[in-house]
Amino acid sequence: MAGVGFRRLAKTLAKGKGPGLSALLSGCRAASGMSKDMIPGPYPKTPEERAAAAKKYNLRVEDYEPYPDNGEGFGDYPKLPDKSQHERDPWYNWDHPDLRRNWGEPIHWDFDMLTRNRVDMSPSPVSWSSMCKQLFGFIGFMLFMFYLGEKFPSYQPVAPKQYPYNDLYLERGGDPEKQPEEVKNYEI
């Protein structure tokens, strides 16, 4: 069986110590997977680790900033500024023009969210508070007016439809010999 860490796993199992199920699950990784340097490592603590991580991700050591180590599983992946692909220069000669990205450039953690089809974080022409106020003000106003209209309906005055010829006596199959009762629909 081609596995990385197989011997270590076997040793821990044989010893009988260890946290049990979690050792079984994470002890051995298939050798057909990634090599250890491609998988993000743990949060870098020493400056040498930082330099190595910056080199791995093609960043300058000063620019490299990992996510804070609060157990959320980022490891040493760099924290790039939150800018969407919409803002990047459309006229620059990118290697991948649809993604506005060059080959080998470190990818933002939320890259799939920041593509040009999705979230746009580019600067807005009007301030955010003004936009919020306008949108929610309009929606709130319309909802309020619809609610009022539901409570106090107003429509054209209507009455049941009035038919001529004594309520269409003959058309409705009344006897032509008999004299129908007089239906008066008006008042002069």
């Binding site: 998988i39 991700y57 093609n58 157990g71 080959w103 080998g104």
Partner: protein
């Protein structure tokens, strides 16, 4: 209009950034040069591979590999802390109880209405 304010979802454009125009120090320009050198090197690598007439395989992007592996291997670096446990509870446990309660109550109301005959809805899309 001159007072452009940044907000969480709308950042300051580079042409309105005062640091571009006022704080032009040697270190900053040195940093920009170093970044440009990195970029140029990567571009060169890509172009060499792209225009290589003997290349038969796909050009592999190590940054993409790193990203994919990082997104897939979150568990090895996961640590149960107070914050992560809060998230786990809020998204994993609370919805169960909340939705059970909501569905049970609304359907009990409907059952009561149907049984007592006060149900006024004649046509239902969801029976």
């Amino acid at each position: 209009m001159a007072e452009y304010r940044e907000t969480p979802l709308a950042e300051r454009p580079k042409t309105l950034d005062p640091n571009e125009y006022f704080n032009v120090s040697l270190e900053k320009r040195g940093a920009e040069e170093a970044r440009a050198a990195f970029r140029a090197n990567l571009k060169r690598q890509y172009q060499m591979q792209l225009n290589n007439p003997h290349r038969k395989e796909l050009i592999e992007d190590p940054a993409l590999t790193n990203w994919v592996q990082a997104r897939g291997n979150i568990y090895p670096h996961f640590r149960p802390t107070q914050r992560t446990s809060m998230f786990g509870l809020a998204f994993g446990v609370v919805p169960l109880f909340f939705f059970y309660y909501v569905f049970k109550t609304t359907r009990d109301w409907k059952e009561e209405r149907i049984r007592s005959g006060t149900d006024t809805q004649k046509y239902r899309l969801t029976s």
